[in-house]
Structure formats: structure tokens, C-alpha cells
């Protein structure tokens, strides 16, 4: 805790009020522009909940059915609104239930502040009722965390928490507040955090790096862009598009970058990585310059690093210095927010077209269409394919919906085939691969983008990990469209068992309940489709029905997601079947 800040605050002439620590927490949230939080009450956080009751006209609290749901909802909200998501829980199990969501937010750089209650400070370390060392537990998965034991520390810590969560490369922050600190009274005044001396949110851009990058870009004959979520987090969509269009460079995306450039853009060449598109994966190993923009070369993107883009020079536009040359060595690193660096490099790069190089992507695309995509979107077999469900969604939404996905086969199918026309339209658990993410994340996504359709595409496995959040949807009238693609398997694991474990289906087959009845139990209109002939109308009805809707589509049980780069293989060894 920075005592200087505290002293300054106490000595300042700013008007102060005498309030409790618990009320101070609420006031801090309001000062940070928060009007919506997700959480679950319990003993050690009750003083804050008591204040929430008094402030309910200014601050909406959504009671999720599990603390994990609170974090994923906060994440979904952050991802579609661009604001900091806030989750709140009690000590002990309340706090530990947040951990999965915090870890998810950490690896996917989602701005989130979690507030946990803690046992009274005199009980700390005594194994008191519902005491856990949530600071120790959450340290490896938070951008920053801190325990408050004195009420007077609350305003400065909360200001710091929000500053850290949203600045630079965003991430989750956990603030643990002992119960006595919630009860104690303080003289409240609030000052927003404007900087922390040991923390440089955005690194300085070296002018020389821009020149070096521009030189490589202008000289390249076969350049390729791979962009990630940095473009969305930096709100750099316009700068990015201008860069892509001026340089004429084919651009591929990572799963978290997807909606930053519309799907139909002629230079959007698809997804890289394990279940990405054929062209961008193959051609990663043929390009002469790889321009990475706001992405971190995750192993699911690169496959075997020893054979990844070895022939290419690499330019890396990045905000986090620790990501530069972590997995793939950068010949030139351009540090900073891509919004600024892309704008700065634009005048330095030549207007260009790479027609014959782009044709190579088109040729690969043709191969993929013929061998994979056509059959997935327009199957000739009887069973419904996941791809054709997504195609039907596209036909209704015209790419304007927010697509939230869980983790597994349906996720890859949704990401591969969903069409997007605007940014912040994809909410998925990329880095952590958290099953159970989608349903609660969709709640937050809808509240962050209330005027848009939000469709949660979920597998039958992941759906049952957080199915209790139907209660949250019901109680709060959250108008999310829940689209469960039911293959009665943990499909992705089953696919691996088929391909790499000689069809030994160990614990992947699911005997499922009547999902329609369950949804109806929560008063959510529901339908089940088993025949292709009914699919289009059912999807249409789902979107046309006011409010929440549940649609289960019984899909082919043992379909596989292709293309695929097997673990440890090179991107150029991508398999079409």
C-alpha cells in the first residue's frame, strides 16, 4: 500500500464524509463508473451487501447461482462493453469458487476486479470459519491482488485495483477485505489512480522500431499478418483496418482476435492455429514476413515452435514486454498500444497489393472448402452437423450477433463458421479453455451489449457445468439465446480418443437429461431439433422470440473438427481429415 498516496489523501482539502468501509467499497465502485456487479453473498461480505441494498438504485447486483458464474458473467460483460467487470463473493468457498474465472481472465487479458470478504483481521491465520488464504491462492492467476485489513486503505486500494485491471495489458485484480475493515468507519474521499511508479502500463514505443518494422514490411514479398485480441483491447480496429488495407497484406486471426476485422473482408484470410484454416496455417511456413499484432504466440497457434515460421522475419506489435521473444523470436518488436503504434506506422508503410500471394491463400481456401467446409456447412449425410447450425445462425443474424462459446468441438465450429460484422462480437474462453464458461459469460455479454442479439453456443458437456445459471437468466430476464449442440459426448475429447487413443472412449459418453424440460422449469421457452428439416425455422424462432430462449440441436454424435494440427506437429502438417 502506498502510504504517500494515503497521506496525501488524508491531508488533502477534498471534502470527506464519515462512512463505513463497506459503504466506501460501494462508493469506490460508483466513482469508477461501475453500475453493475455480479456476486453471491455470505458471512464475511455481508456488510458490503447491506450497503448494496441501500445503493440498489445506483448499482445493480446480479445474484448468480455460483461464484464461478459471477466471474464469467463479469468477463462476458467486460468483453462486450469494454468496461471492467466486477465480481463479488464471500470468504472461503466463495473466494475459491472465483478462482477458475480469475485464471480465465488472466490468460485472456480480461479486465476484472474481484472483491472478496475475509474473516476479521484478528482471526487471520487461525483457520477460522470460512477462512482461506485467497491472496496466496490467487497470486499466480491475478495481475495484482491485495488484502485490506484497515478501512482507511479501501479508497486508495480500490482506485489502484481499477487502474491496474484496465490499463496496459488488462487483467484480473482481487481485493480481499477483512470483515472488521468493512465495519470500521473512515473519512471518505476518492481520488482516481493515475499511475504507479513500479508499473508501466504501456511501454514506450522506440521510433527506430517503427522505422525498422516499416522497412521490413515495405520490402516483404510474402508478408502475412496474424492479429489477436490486442486489437480489440486497444480499441484499435480502425487503425488496424487502415494498416491492413494500405499494405494489402493478408491477415489471419487468433481465436480471441476474431471479430476485430469483419469476416467478409477480402484480406481476412481466416484463423490460425490447431483448428484454424488451411491457408493461414500452411502459409505461415511460407511467408517471408510474419507481422504479429496484439497476440502472444500461444502453443495452440504455433504448433511445434521448432518448425514455426523459421523462414520468416518476425515483427511483433505488443504491449506486454514479457511476451516479446517469449515463444517466437521477434526480429523487430514494436512496443506499445497497437492503437498508437499502428497509427504511427501507417504513414511509413507503402501502399501495396500482394495479388499473387493472396491467390495462394485463395487456392488453399479452395482446397479446404472442397474437402472440409462444404460438407460441414451443407452435409450430405443424415445427421445434423455443427457447422450447418452455425450457418443457420449466420443466415438469421447476418453476422450482427455476439457469439459466446464454451469450450470444445462446438467452440471450434462456432469460431470457424460464425460470421462477424463488428468488433467485440466474440466471447470465448481461449487460453484457459474453461468448460462451463459460456452460459454465465453470455449473461454478462448480453448486459454489456443489451441492444444486440447474444447467442451462447454450448456443448452438452460444458452446459451442465454451469447449468444452474439458468436461474440467473430467469430471475433477471436476461435475453440470451442458448443454443446447445448436443452430441451426447464430450466431443473434443472423444475426437482425440478416436484419432490418438484408438477409439477408447474413456468417460466421454454422456447420458443427458431432458434439457428442454429443464429450461421450461426456469420458464424459458425451449425447443429441441432432431431433424434437418426443422432446423432453419427453429433457429429463426429462437431469435424472433422476445427474451431468453433455449434451443437444443441434436447433432451427429461422432463428427470431428477439421482441419487439425495434431499436438506437437508443425503448422504446415495441418490435416484436412
Amino acid at each position: 500500500m502506498n502510504t504517500d498516496t494515503l497521506k496525501k489523501q488524508q491531508n488533502s482539502t477534498v471534502k470527506t464524509e464519515r462512512i463505513t468501509g463497506a459503504e466506501a467499497v460501494i462508493r469506490c465502485l460508483l466513482e469508477e463508473g461501475v453500475d453493475l456487479i455480479y456476486g453471491y453473498p455470505g458471512g464475511a461480505i455481508m456488510p458490503v451487501y447491506d450497503e448494496l441494498y441501500k445503493y440498489q438504485d445506483k448499482l445493480t447486483h446480479i445474484l448468480t447461482r455460483h461464484e464461478q458464474g459471477a466471474t464469467h458473467s463479469a468477463q462476458g460483460y467486460a468483453r462486450t462493453s469494454g468496461k471492467v467487470g466486477v465480481a463479488i463473493a464471500t470468504s472461503g468457498p466463495g473466494a475459491t469458487n472465483l478462482v477458475t474465472g480469475i485464471a480465465d481472465a488472466q490468460i485472456d487479458s480480461t479486465p476484472m476486479v474481484c472483491i472478496t470478504g475475509q474473516v476479521a483481521s484478528h482471526l487471520l491465520g487461525s483457520d477460522a470459519f470460512q477462512e482461506t488464504d485467497i491472496i496466496g491462492i490467487s497470486t499466480p492467476v491475478t495481475k495484482w491482488n491485495i488484502q485490506i485489513t484497515k478501512a482507511e486503505d479501501i479508497p486508495a486500494v480500490m482506485a489502484k485495483a481499477f487502474y491496474i485491471a484496465r490499463s496496459g495489458r488488462p487483467g484480473p485484480v482481487l481485493v480481499d477485505i477483512t470483515k472488521d475493515a468493512q465495519f470500521a468507519e473512515i473519512d471518505f474521499s476518492y481520488e482516481k489512480c493515475k499511475g504507479i511508479r513500479s508499473y508501466k502500463a504501456t511501454p514506450k514505443t522506440e521510433p527506430q522500431s517503427l522505422k525498422d518494422a516499416a522497412t521490413l514490411i515495405n520490402a516483404a514479398k510474402k508478408p502475412m499478418i496474424v492479429w489477436g485480441q490486442g486489437v480489440i483491447l486497444g480499441e484499435a480496429e480502425a487503425e488496424f483496418k487502415a494498416f491492413v488495407e494500405k499494405t494489402g497484406i493478408p491477415a489471419a486471426w487468433t481465436i480471441l482476435g476474431v471479430s476485430a476485422l469483419e469476416t467478409a473482408h477480402p484480406l481476412n484470410v481466416g484463423m490460425v492455429g490447431m483448428h484454424g484454416n488451411y491457408g493461414p496455417n500452411k502459409l505461415t511456413n511460407e511467408c517471408d514476413l510474419l507481422i504479429a499484432i496484439g497476440m502472444r504466440f500461444d502453443d495452440r497457434v504455433t504448433g511445434n515452435l521448432a518448425t514455426y515460421a523459421k523462414q520468416a522475419k518476425v515483427v511483433h506489435f505488443e504491449i506486454d514486454p514479457a511476451e516479446v521473444s517469449k515463444n517466437v523470436k521477434a526480429d523487430v518488436a514494436v512496443m506499445g498500444n497497437v492503437k498508437n503504434t499502428l497509427a504511427a506506422i501507417l504513414p511509413e508503410v507503402n501502399k501495396n497489393t500482394h495479388a499473387s500471394w493472396l491467390q495462394e491463400f485463395e487456392a488453399h481456401d479452395k482446397i479446404e472448402k472442397e474437402s472440409v467446409i462444404q460438407e460441414e456447412l451443407y452435409p450430405t449425410k443424415d445427421g445434423i452437423s455443427m457447422g450447418e447450425v452455425i450457418r443457420n445462425v449466420n443466415e438469421v443474424t447476418k453476422g450482427d450477433a455476439v457469439v459466446v462459446t464454451d469450450v470444445g468441438q462446438h467452440q471450434m465450429m462456432a469460431i470457424r463458421y460464425a460470421e462477424f460484422v463488428k468488433s467485440k462480437s466474440n466471447v470465448t474462453s481461449g487460453g484457459l479453455g474453461t468448460m462451463g464458461f459460456a452460459l454465465p459469460a453470455a449473461i454478462g455479454a448480453k448486459m454489456g451489449a443489451p441492444d444486440r442479439h447474444v447467442v451462447a453456443v454450448i456443448g452438452d458437456g460444458g452446459y451442465q457445468m454451469t447449468i444452474q445459471e439458468l436461474g440467473t437468466i430467469f430471475q433477471n430476464n436476461i435475453g440470451v439465446k442458448i443454443l446447445v449442440l448436443n452430441n451426447e459426448f464430450l466431443g473434443m475429447v472423444r475426437q482425440w480418443q478416436e484419432l490418438f487413443f484408438e477409439n477408447r472412449y474413456a468417460s466421454t459418453e454422456m447420458t443427458n437429461p431432458d434439457f428442454v424440460k429443464i429450461a421450461e422449469g426456469y420458464n424459458i421457452p425451449a425447443n429441441r431439433v432432431t431433424e434437418r428439416a426443422d432446423l432453419a425455422d427453429a433457429v429463426k424462432t429462437m431469435f424472433e422470440t422476445e427474451g431468453a430462449y433455449f434451443l437444443e440441436v441434436c447433432v451427429e454424435k461422432e463428427n470431428n473438427v477439421f482441419p487439425m494440427i495434431p499436438t506437437g506437429a508443425s503448422v504446415s502438417d495441418i490435416r484436412l481429415k
Binding site: 491472496i135 499466480p140 504507479i196 511508479r197 513500479s198 508499473y199 514486454p321 516479446v324
Partner: protein
């Protein structure tokens, strides 16, 4: 790539949870911490962690990047043994009778430039500061006579080249 010994120096805000955060970065990569020392630094209210590890330079570089990313860390550096001046300290507790019965012990004390910290009827305590081989040598010589207690501190080190920390602090303040 060849493994070497690296001294990692971390300048940080004095914060209770930070040690946990920093050690977690080593833990994740299964890097054994050979020694760890935390002390104040040349800058007021700035702590200094000195961590010794044995690894490839590439790993040391990435670890320093991930340490530096922690909010309370101001700056982190890594250096090879050749780039630093470093020392360790040890204490030996030995039976006092030996001081009088075994002449050889007095020679060992003299040769190793150790100092006698205290002498009581039952035991005496030797202190020695130096590099690992000298300390190991002294240990090996004393061992046959019986050592009641032995403890070695973490490495402390200063770099031969300047650590650009003061200027950095001025810039960010």
C-alpha cells in the same frame, strides 16, 4: 543452450505478497532457487531481491521479463558470475573444547580469514564471508572435527556495470 549460474536482482516496492508472486514464477518453470536474499537497496523504500539460479540464459531472460511484469516490481536484471561481485556469509558453531584441544582448528581459522564472533564455555562461533569454494573448503576442513551448527546466507551481489535504476525511478516519478 548451456546452463550457467545467474544472479537475478529485483528492485521492488516493499510489499508483503511479492515474495510469493516472484517465487511462483520460478516454481512454474521448475527452476530451483539456489539462494535468495531480500534486503533494502541503495534507494529509500525500495527492496532488493537477489536470487541465484542455474539455467540457460534464454530462461533467465524470460523469467526476468515475467518478474518485471509484476505490479510492484520496479526493475529486474540478470547477470552472470563474471558480471557481478558476489559474496555469501556463513556461521559455524563449534564445541569450545576443540579450540584448545585441536591446534589445527586455529590454523584453519587463520588461513580462511574467518572471524570468531563469540566464545563461551561450551561453544564458539566462526563467521566467514566469501565465495562458495572458499566456504566449502573451510567447511570440509572443519567437518572432521565436528560442526554443531552450520548456516549459509543467500548470495549478495552487486553488478560491475551500473544498474539503471535510479534514473528509471526519477523518470517515472
Amino acid at each position: 543452450m548451456e546452463k550457467k549460474r545467474f544472479t537475478i536482482s529485483v528492485y521492488s516496492e516493499n510489499n508483503v505478497g511479492l515474495l510469493n508472486r516472484i517465487s511462483g514464477i520460478f516454481l512454474k518453470r521448475h527452476i530451483n532457487i539456489e539462494s535468495l536474499n531480500v534486503s533494502k537497496s541503495e534507494i529509500e523504500n525500495v527492496s532488493k531481491f537477489t536470487v541465484v539460479i542455474h539455467t540457460e540464459e534464454e530462461v533467465a531472460r524470460k523469467i526476468v521479463g515475467q518478474i518485471e511484469k509484476q505490479i510492484e516490481v520496479i526493475k529486474a536484471f540478470y547477470h552472470t558470475d563474471e558480471e557481478t561481485i558476489f559474496q555469501e556469509s556463513v556461521l559455524f558453531k563449534i564445541d569450545s573444547a576443540l579450540l584448545f584441544d585441536e591446534r589445527q582448528i586455529q590454523n584453519i581459522i587463520k588461513e580462511s580469514n574467518a572471524t570468531i564472533v563469540t566464545v563461551s564455555r561450551d561453544y564458539f562461533v566462526l563467521a566467514k564471508t566469501g565465495r562458495r569454494p572458499e566456504i566449502d573448503d573451510m567447511y570440509n576442513k572443519l567437518k572432521p572435527f565436528g560442526i554443531m551448527q552450520f548456516v549459509r546466507s543467500g548470495r549478495i551481489a552487486v553488478s560491475k556495470a551500473e544498474m539503471q535504476i535510479t534514473a528509471l525511478l526519477k523518470e517515472i516519478q
